[in-house]
Amino acid sequence: MMDTLAMGGYGAYVWSSFALMFIVMVACVGQARGRQRRVYQDIEKRLRAMEASK
């Protein structure tokens, strides 16, 4: 177990690379979802305001 974590002395390099990979994956998903929600809510707000002013 410790041998695996140590990665032959390269542990810090290997694990930080995969941590970054994971962070980028999460960031990509989070950004895409956030933008979709913002765009949708902006349109909804505008449409509701138009409905109310009718």
Partner: protein, 248 residues
């Protein structure tokens, strides 16, 4: 087939179809990424020269490949958008940019982390592979800033498409840089004459993770195109009906 393409070009149809496809791309992509990561980290044998540090390629190669793939998609769709004035093509280019930037960043960062123990340096200024990849990151930033600076979508589409096409010359430069000039970066492992030069126990996890990231990227790209389409169609009847839930 033509009927299918025409339907795909219809925004409401695409918006609904993409929503159904995204989970399939995402789930199959994540499963393959999980396989590639676990097999690459724990089951592939250490490299004879690089030891366990070689495992960084399982994070680095898919990122580097997608960084160029995203730019190629942008160049092709921006070109189609300019020539045939297809709005959906411009939407695809705009959707791919932030993803390309993220994967370029990941390729540079993991390459740098690998370079420290292997080359003895985090970064080498003037190295053709490293420099051309960094230029691509700036091209992505330039593209996104240009789009953000122009309010009119049609004008932003045109101006940013020209930028992408001019910068496209950088993609083959990145790919062939290790052959044209002397570079610290090692030569190609997978795409070369005589087939891949890598042991099967190392190769399959790599192919798995590359395919997995391609599918994962596909899911993200579809999601982002969907948002682009929604934004561009914000004043249409179908968006109004969908959001207000009315059938009129």
């Amino acid at each position: 087939m033509w009927n299918f393409i025409q339907k795909l070009g219809s925004p409401p149809h695409f918006y609904g179809l993409a929503a159904k496809m995204i989970p399939w791309f995402a789930i199959s992509g994540l499963l393959l990424i999980a396989y590639g990561t676990i097999a690459g980290l724990f089951f592939a044998p250490p490299d004879s020269k690089q030891g366990d540090a070689f495992r960084i390629i399982y994070a680095h190669v898919p990122a580097a490949y997608l960084s160029m793939m995203a730019y190629t998609i942008m160049a092709v769709t921006a070109g189609i958008g300019l020539i045939w004035r297809m709005k959906l093509a411009h939407a695809v280019a705009a959707a791919a940019a932030p993803l390309g930037a993220w994967f370029t960043f990941l390729a540079l960062a993991t390459g740098s982390i690998w370079g420290r123990p292997m080359w003895g340096t985090w970064w080498e200024w003037g190295d053709p592979r490293l420099t051309s990849e960094l230029i691509m990151l700036f091209l992505y930033f330039g593209y996104m800033s240009l789009r953000a600076a122009i309010d009119d979508t049609a004008k932003a589409d045109k101006a940013s498409a020209v930028l992408v096409l001019v910068g496209a010359v950088n993609v083959p430069i990145i790919h062939f840089s290790v052959e044209w000039w002397s570079s610290l970066h090692q030569g190609p492992t997978l795409i070369k004459k005589g087939g891949p030069s890598i042991d099967a126990a190392m190769l399959y996890p790599l192919l798995g993770i590359i395919l997995g990231f391609t599918l994962f990227f596909g899911a993200l790209l579809l999601a982002r195109i969907r948002t682009e389409v929604l934004h561009r169609e914000r004043r249409t009847r179908w968006v109004r009906n969908m959001i207000l839930g009315e059938s009129t």
